[in-house]
Amino acid sequence: MPLLAFLLLLIAQILSGYGILTLLGLRLRTSYALTLSILLGIALSSFLPFLLQLCWITLTGPTIFGSLAVAALLLNIPAFLRIRREGLPAVVRSFRPGPFRFRVYEVPFFLVMAFFLFISIWRCYYLPPLSRDALSGPEAIAEFAVREHTMINSFFRVDLWSTNNPYKSPYLVSLQMIYKLAGFPFGQIWLSVVVVCFTVFLYQAVKEKVHPVLAGLLVLLLTMAPELYAYTFMILYDYSNMVFFFLSLYFLFGWFREERPTGDALFFAERIPGTYYCSVLLMGIATYIRSETLVLALFFLPLIGWRVRGKYSAGKISRYLVLFVAPSLLAYYLTVPLYLGHYIPIHYKVAGEVNAHLSNLGPLFQRYRDIVTRLFTGVFAVHLWGYILYVFAALFLAELILLRRLSKEACNWLYAIAALYIGVGFLGWLLPLMNLNETTKRSLFKLLPLIVLYLANNGWLIRLSGWISHWEQAKQPISTTDKNTPKPALARANPSARTTSSSGANSKKKKRK
């Protein structure tokens, strides 16, 4: 029974996520479209019970699952209209996925990744949530919400002096409720769906830049970061926040590569590319999950302004900038001032948590120092992240010193890494509750996929990748219609738009041709 409920939920999430992608005018390759649809569907699932709660609607199985079904149907109205216009067979034909292709040398990586993911899924399914942050907050609220049909339940009558965990985003509460109602006594299995989709998406994204052997190795380095791996079966906000933050930047940098706007979405009667819309939406979701992501989003405004300077007028650039933070601001308003500040019985004021000595910059620089000395280097850092930070440092320095040239793509990811370091340190100083060894450490999860994408664009790995590909294909005539050549991530409506694989191994192959 839970399996059936899980599959129905998954279908609803795929449909609603796909509906969102269609509305954004994004056309992606199957692996990206499927994983991103599921992730967007999960984000929507996490929002609907919260929305019902805000409208004081009783949270029961029928209202929650009904709202998920209605959302999936409404978001697919364009698809229904298309079926009516073109007929079902034509639409089904257009959805037919391409054959699943992989090389035999990818199999070892698939096997080891499957091993890691299987263990993670099993622990999500079989074991109850353990972390105190969940038990003294969202998990307990969800448990009593299922019994009492409201998020504003008897849990808030308990003495909450010792914990601030109830005063967090309803993301976790909503998802836990849905999966408990679906028959999973511990909920949690949504996290496995997020983990699997993210891993598949990341592997595809990295494989577009470097040889599959290197792609497998990079993704394995990320999976084997001990602390991050623990959070693939320990429900909290940070893993999901990392996923949506990364995806937002992935599409933002994808948009940078486009020569001119494409897509069908409109904003103030102006054509805005679907990739950009997708990026801002994903950043909004990341902020919904962890409200302080709003501050991190602001750090990317200078980059956006810099990258599109000369392309657009100042007015248009400012509209793009406003659009970038608008969903994040909305998400912040809904979760913090409205929900935590006014809606729940114990009003939570973030202002009370802000550092009272903002003129004293000493602790800010101390925080930056502590992040480097305690979380980035030394034995504790290896226990947290494995050796991925050292691999990053070595290859970055090698590129900087020996090659002395960074690709635009690499620069984007390096900017993101620097912005995250500065932003997380700044948040730790602004909100002293964000302690170094817990909150700041978990905030740094977001660093890992950024590092992997930087490494996928690192000059030395691109060279190595090109060398392996060249050796691999040395005696084979390179066909201009080579089906195994990785295709760009964003298959756009406008064929003149530059693709995401404009650098790296694939572009080298093209140049040789």
């Binding site: 040398y105 070892p108 009558r157 010792s162 497998g216 290896v382």
Partner: protein, 159 residues
């Protein structure tokens, strides 16, 4: 042939990674141990409560025992006072951490209080933990309650 070589390279890289430095220690201590756990758990017939007890350990078992006892006593609206964790640490030199009220409520659905909780003055049961075991004592009079609160006042509530 080249594919075979690359496949061998993939295997070699994976083996190298899981056997290098800290990864080796971590891989054996975590993923491999989790795999051993899975082999046991997949055939396990334990119910939800038993799985929770196994996962949460002493605290959960103690909380559920308190619930059982109170249900047997038909205690009505019980408010259970816990001794401060600093009392165990500083006075009894025991490494015991009783659950905070939020987690106790999650486990049992009962109201637990610490000495600094607003409802501590309404507590009608006290959980005492010592080397001899756990006891649940009824608090019968306001005077007795005040005496208890005064005694633990010097031990600040900590997690």
């Amino acid at each position: 042939m080249k594919s075979v070589l690359l496949t061998a390279l993939s295997f070699a890289l994976i083996l190298l990674l899981v056997n290098i430095g800290f990864y080796k220690e971590w891989f054996q201590d975590k993923p491999l141990r989790y795999w051993q756990d899975f082999l046991k758990e997949k055939d396990d017939t334990a119910n939800i409560q038993a799985i929770r007890a196994e996962r949460y350990g002493f605290n959960y078992t103690m909380c559920m025992r308190i619930k059982e006892v109170l249900e047997k006593k038909k205690a009505g609206h019980a408010i259970i006072l816990f001794e401060p964790n600093s009392y165990y640490r500083d006075s009894l030199h025991m490494t015991i951490h009783v659950p905070e009220p939020a987690v106790f409520y999650y486990y049992t659905g009962l109201e637990g209080v610490w000495i600094n909780s607003p409802d501590a003055v309404k507590a009608n049961f006290l959980v005492r933990i010592s080397g001899k075991g756990v006891r649940l004592d009824a608090i019968k009079t306001p005077g007795q309650r005040q005496q208890i609160l005064d005694f633990y006042k010097k031990y600040p509530p900590i997690l």
